[in-house]
């Protein structure tokens, strides 16, 4: 079974996304900020990461840049998931190593479609 780490400071978003991604046959772990996510990645790199932008402690962009410098940190497919959805922000996320980008709000079809785009499902 593939694994997905959901990183978002909103418990509600983690729960909603978690259920959708679980239904796509992923083992799901959750983190509330970038630092927590980094600790979980060091334990075990997930196959996929759904990553929020604005979070306390360590934001999504800083986490992504740090992740890509980690041992094995180039492996996870990172799907950014943010309300910052103008072209500049999306471009910055992609240049920083994201594989796909979901603009919030999202639904199950969007997650499915985006995961398919990057070959996760």
């Amino acid at each position: 079974m593939k694994s997905c780490l959901i990183v978002d400071d909103s418990r509600v978003v983690r729960k909603v996304a978690g259920r959708i991604i679980h239904d796509l046959q992923f083992e799901v772990r959750e983190a509330g900020d970038g630092a927590e996510a980094m600790a979980l990645c060091r334990e075990k790199m997930p196959d996929a990461i759904l990553l929020d932008w604005n979070m306390p402690v360590m934001n999504g962009l800083d986490f992504l840049r740090a992740l890509r410098r980690e041992d094995g940190g180039s492996k996870p497919i990172v799907v950014f998931c943010s309300t910052e959805n103008d072209a500049e922000h999306i471009g910055e996320a992609m240049r920083s190593g994201a594989n796909e980008f979901i603009m919030k709000p999202f639904d199950a079809d969007i997650i499915h479609s985006k995961f398919a785009e990057v070959g996760l499902v």
């Binding site: 072209a87 999306i90 471009g91 992609m94 980008f101 603009m103 999202f106 639904d107 985006k114």
Partner: protein, 280 residues
Amino acid sequence: MDETTFQDVAELALNGSGQLIPPSKSYLIEARLAPILRREGLAEVSDLMGVIKARPASKLGTEAVAALTSKTTGFFTGRETLTRIVDHVLPMMAPTAADNTLRVWCAGGAAGQEACSLAILLEESDNEALEDVRVEILSTDISEAMTSAARAGQFGHFDVQKGLSIHRLLKHFSRLDTGDWQISPKLAGRIAVRTHNLLKDASGLGEFDVILCRNVISGMARPMRSRVLLNIARQLSDGGVLFLGEGETADGLVDGLKASRDVRGAFARDVERSALTAAA
């Protein structure tokens, strides 16, 4: 909705577009007609049917048929077929293209998602065979609401996130202040849009080398499916091919329209245009 009203609506849809509305789908009727009811200040579907019956020539009947029939679709639906058309079928046809132009028709093309997807693939193609030919795409739909949307080339937040990668979205669309996304002038320049009912003669649209009519005929009554396919097949150029949706077939519906020998999964005329007839 009472039984009489359901029958009236089903008959209107059948005659207007060939679409069969089974009783199990009656719940869809109210949802689809709601915008028209609201605009006309009518309370019930039966009121609308009363107005349409009293004024059979009015535009309202056509609009109701379109609302009942037209389906929305997504970007890159049936991706494999679209890729094959751009990577193999059009390049194969290119050397013999009349006036160096290949014409593609998305029949029942909703708000233009299928046409856009083809235009994106053409923009991205580096196939040498396509360098010296123009590929024109026509998207038609029965619904004027759909074709106006296709002409505007604007798509919502949820639409652009289904079937489109973020790379393609950023490359081929720009974000509007409303939060919608506008297709690039380059894509728009490849696509023409017309309102057209597939039950009607299509000779005014011209000839096409590739016709896509996917997931359109499956909901139709059999004689209407024949009629639609006949109208479409008459617009196929010599050597032109027709793609239907997955699980749809032209077999037994039009005499002279057969599985293509050159293109897997497609249909082609094997007689002169004038010899095509609806199968008995």
